[in-house]
């Protein structure tokens, strides 16, 4: 077995403020880190990801596309084989609001889904080395990727922050 040089240091926290403290700590040390929490909280976001999520842009673009497509579908289909019903215009604009509206939402929603998948990197079959089942239960986790040499330092940082336990694992 070849000994890997990269390590994942997993800090398990009971308290959120401890975990955030740890994050701030490792962030300051410019380490490659990740935080796991059983619940999204804005306190966490403020510390870990203060920028805006780009999901909304994708959603917006897709929604616009959907709106255009819905209208285009209705109008072009009607023009393709013009059939008069009840003296209504071939391109009956009021009636076509519905497909336009619905496809705005449909495309926007599917685009958002697509964005989540893309940005959250799911579906994922890769095992996250630092992940611990307790992180979906009631514990917070801060995982730091580091070389074998940094392990002690990182462990210390996490323990200082108040980790219940610190675990060192192979390769992130």
């Amino acid at each position: 077995m070849v000994e890997s040089t990269s390590r994942a240091v997993v800090g398990v926290f009971t308290y959120m403020d401890d975990a955030l403290e740890a994050v701030k700590n490792v962030k300051a040390a410019n380490l490659d880190w990740r935080m796991y929490s059983p619940v999204p909280r804005h306190e966490i976001e403020e510390v870990t990801f203060p920028q805006k999520s780009p999901v909304r842009l994708v959603s917006f673009a897709c929604a616009l596309t959907g709106c255009a497509s819905g209208w285009a579908l209705a109008i072009l289909c009607s023009l393709d084989w013009p059939m008069r019903t009840s003296a209504k215009n071939i391109a009956s604009i009021p009636a076509f609001f519905v497909p336009g509206y619905e496809w705005t939402i449909l495309f926007g929603g599917l685009g958002t889904l697509f964005a989540i998948f893309a940005f959250c990197k799911i579906p994922s079959v890769v095992r996250a080395a630092g992940y611990d089942p307790r992180f979906s239960h009631d514990k917070f986790g801060v995982v730091v990727a580091c070389s074998a040499g940094q392990v002690t330092d990182v462990t210390k940082r996490l323990q200082t922050a108040g980790a219940d336990e610190v675990d060192v694992r192979d390769s992130l």
Partner: protein
Amino acid sequence: MITRIRLAIAGACVSALALVAVFAQQGGVATNATAQDSASQYPELGVRAGVYNDGQAALWDFNITDHFRYFGPPPRLRGYSPEQPIKFSHVIHVQQNKMECQYCHWSVSKAAYAAIPEEETCMGCHGALVQGKSEQGKKDIQYLKDMYAKNQPIPWVKVHVMPDYLKFNHKRHVKAGVTCQECHGQIPEMEKVERVSSMKMGWCISCHRERGASIDCLVCHGHR
């Protein structure tokens, strides 16, 4: 991160444009010419029967009526060529003997229906004069005579099976100058008659559109 967003937006726009482009094509199906392109097969006509979709069903256009009437391959497909009770050869009759289509199928210019000729018409030549050269020909002509003597019709097998709700009028098409071959293919070259056109709705419509004929539904689905 920014790059990814740009990519996503660009992808969305491209897909939307593609979608619009598909629908902008009249009829929507992008499968234009197919392997059995009638123009290449019958160059002397110079008129293509199928224009943009040649009556091809989209893959997902599963039309159950095509199948449930018959437990087997539907006779409404291009290439359908059933065995006939008499091995009648259009090659001999039309190509070699230079007979006109309407000599036998005389009702095409008079009525909606293109009738199969009466046995009497066949007997006009085969009654006394022509007795056939080949073994098969002699057998078939004898069969014709027997049936005629028994006053029984010959059970020809329909090649162009059309549903009841389609009311096609041969007379109008013939009078409008549509040649037989445009729909039925090069029958003169056929030893055994085969369906060369799908005769599906899109196929009809394409020609109607091309020639500016009416595409009112009732023209074909209301009456003869």
